[in-house]
């Protein structure tokens, strides 16, 4: 009894402290979308990754790099499911710098599967100059490098419901979060108002608008759909082995459950006649 009341008291105290923390953040909390790759049996939706790749390639890649993303990844299991031939076609549509050759000169050649995604700018300084001083972050692990604050007790229940989609939910919300600034807010020149960006003023102009990217599979060509697709694609970029991880995880669990069951009954049998 005493134990329980102490614990409850502590929980209550923590809850009181937690409340202002959420309020103080001041940024809207992203909505939790339903993702195909969430939960214990989640896996990427190939169609969605292909659409997301298209959005990335046609829109985001003009400002953002993805240096750990190789053309070969496009054909790797658990990804967007392109054939190797298709991945080669994508690669060869880009020119990359190679060399030096026998003459000691650098030269341009069509991309190969072993090349990484060509960066839009030669270096960070060039990227900043082109973007009003702000640096468009590399996409490779961005979906794992962003999060949002979940107070108590949400962060505890998240461990049980296996919520790991903070980053994608944030990115989706960010792309949807370009709204008119509330009356009385002055937006700095070169910045744009966004409900979800910390501080609300982001250097990235609203990158997506309805109908901008053509989908051939009948999916709606709306900002909402584009944002979902490109966010899912970024999750895959950040965690390319997610499918395998969850699949193997399930096998591991089946094994461990059976093993622990057997051990439990063995233990029971061994200790049967021993009072303890």
């Amino acid at each position: 009894m005493i134990k329980r009341s102490i614990l409850l008291g502590a929980l209550a105290a923590v809850a009181i402290f937690a409340a202002p923390a959420n309020a103080a953040e001041g940024t809207d909390r992203p909505h939790r979308e339903s993702w195909s790759f969430a939960g214990p049996f989640g896996s990427f939706d190939q169609g969605q990754l292909q659409r997301g790749f298209k959005v990335f390639r046609e829109v985001c890649a003009s400002c953002h790099s993805a240096n750990y993303f190789y053309f070969r990844n496009l054909a790797q299991p658990g990804g967007p499911g392109f054939s190797e031939a298709q991945a080669k076609v994508v690669a060869s549509s880009y020119q990359v710098t190679d060399g030096p050759n026998d003459q000691g000169e650098m030269f341009q050649r069509p991309g190969r599967l072993s090349d990484h995604w060509p960066a839009p700018f030669p270096n960070e300084q060039a990227a900043r100059v082109a973007n009003g001083g702000a640096y468009p972050p590399d996409f490779s692990v961005l979906a794992k490098a962003r999060s949002y604050h979940v107070g108590f007790p949400g962060f505890i229940t998240d461990a049980f419901i296996q919520y790991q989609e903070h980053g994608v939910d944030y990115i989706h919300a960010l792309l949807m979060g370009y709204v008119e600034p509330p009356a009385g807010t002055t937006v700095q020149p070169g910045l744009h108002y966004n409900t979800y960006f910390p501080g609300h003023q982001i250097a990235m102009p609203k990158p997506l608008s309805d109908g901008q990217v053509e989908y051939t599979d009948g999916a709606p060509q709306t900002v909402d759909q584009y944002s979902r697709d490109v966010s899912a694609f970024m999750m895959w970029l950040a965690e390319p082995h997610l499918d395998a991880r969850k699949r193997i995880g399930f096998q591991v669990f089946i094994f461990l459950i059976v093993l622990s069951g057997l051990l439990y009954f063995t233990k029971k049998k061994i200790w049967k006649n021993i009072a303890h």
Partner: protein
């Protein structure tokens, strides 16, 4: 408690070897015939779990080191290379990163178990102090390991923690420069941390050896905190009784571990550590790994830098003096009605400090951290010494066997009967 070996080498070669190096006999006496109190509960399985976790960290760490490079401009990319290109590299890295947390969860349960049942009291003081040393080395190892992926939290965590040494009067600044190997955390720091991160786990393994040696010399404590009076009545042989229980508990623990590795591998980490280290951009909140949070809260609760550092290290050092701060002759909280309550209050305070360590150091949080920090020390320096003098322990059973039988356990056969 050694010398119970009933091992008889079978066959010529075994006899020849045993008379020259009694290795099998040693293993036999410490892991087969070694008598364990029959009333141990599942909290006693965490020693085995900790040994497993240490081996797990060493094995996964050595494989990571085969693919990792400690060089500031590339370390972040090398870890991503492990995650993406090395076969099952993602698995090994997630095992190692989450394994560190599991190691700490297990060690905290192990330490609180010791506090609850008075396992630090005579004749187990040296055993306890060796445990505190292991805990310190674990913290150093994990801290330096967290620097290796060279993300934002790696870099800024290392900056904040190494900077603490600058609080030392006169020589502080010099020590910090010496630790860094430069004028800020940088490539030399990363390299020496990698070297030490490789070394310390093996030192831990050495101390674990001493810890187990001491344990097997004095014997295990038990939930009733009563000494073994009769090996036949009060104990059961380690194998099969403790072995099967340890293995079962370990597999359940591995299940808990696997939940994190396979389903929520980044839950315990900080998203900022997926941003490459950038000396020019300080993260909004610098938070250490969760297992350091109570000490971080203590550090920040003291307004003075040197005071904060002393309080933080003092909070760990005080553990080593626990055997002498607790004046009660009774070990187990089972027979200490007052201590039992203060134990739970202390546990809640420790968790509360952990929570506050994760919150920004402002307003109500600072006040709460100060109150809890004071309580933390009061618990050790005032409550424990006084309790032992004023508390009236409840009636204790005469022996472990009596305690077990009094609890009305079914099946009253003497343990030796079947074994």
């Amino acid at each position: 408690m050694e010398g119970h070996s009933t091992y008889q080498p079978q066959g010529k070669i075994a006899r020849w070897f045993e008379s020259r190096l009694p290795l099998v006999g040693l293993l036999h006496s410490s892991a087969v015939s070694y008598p364990t109190p029959r009333n141990l509960n599942y909290l006693w399985t965490f020693g085995g779990i900790l040994t497993f976790m240490l081996i797990c960290q060493i094995v996964s760490g050595i494989v990571l080191a085969m693919h990792y490079t400690a060089y500031a401009p590339v370390s972040f990319a090398r870890v991503e290379h492990i995650m993406r290109d090395v076969n099952y590299g993602w698995l090994i890295r997630y095992i190692h990163a989450n394994g560190a947390s599991m190691f700490f969860i297990a060690v905290y349960i192990h330490i609180f178990r010791g506090m609850y049942y008075g396992s630090y009291k005579a004749p187990r003081e040296v055993l306890w102090i060796l445990g505190v040393i292991i805990y310190l080395l674990m913290m150093a190892t994990a801290f330096m390991g967290y620097v290796l992926p060279w993300g934002q939290m790696s870099y800024w965590g290392a900056t904040v923690i190494t900077n603490l040494f600058s609080a030392i009067p006169y020589v502080g600044e010099t020590i910090v420069l010496w630790l860094w190997g430069g004028y800020s955390v940088g490539d030399p720091t990363l390299n020496r941390f990698f070297s030490l991160h490789y070394l310390l786990p093996f030192m831990i393994a050495g101390i674990v050896g001493l810890h187990i040696w001491a344990l097997h010399h004095v014997g295990q404590n038990n939930p009733d905190g009563i000494d073994v009076k009769s090996v036949a009545k009060d104990t059961v042989p380690f194998t099969p009784y403790a072995t099967i229980k340890d293995v079962f508990a370990m597999v359940v623990f591995i299940m808990f571990f696997a939940w994190f590795v396979f389903y929520i591998p980044n839950y315990l980490g900080h998203s900022d550590n997926y941003i490459p280290a950038n000396p020019l951009a300080t993260p909004a909140h610098i938070v250490p790994e969760w297992y350091f949070l109570p000490f971080y809260a203590i550090l920040r609760s003291v307004p003075d830098k040197l005071g904060g550092v002393l309080a933080m290290f003092g909070a760990i050092a005080v553990l080593a003096f626990l055997p002498w701060l607790d004046t009660s002759k009774v070990r187990s909280a089972r027979y200490r009605p007052l201590f039992k309550q203060f134990f739970w209050i202390f546990a809640v305070v420790a968790v509360g400090l952990g929570y506050l360590g994760a919150m920004p150091a402002e307003g109500g949080y600072v006040i709460a951290s100060r109150i809890l920090t004071v309580y933390y020390f009061v618990h050790f320096l005032v409550i424990l010494p006084v309790l032992g003098l004023i508390e009236r322990p409840s009636v204790m059973p005469a022996s472990i066997a009596d305690a077990v039988l009094a609890r009305g356990a079914k099946g009253a056969a003497a343990p030796g009967a079947k074994a």
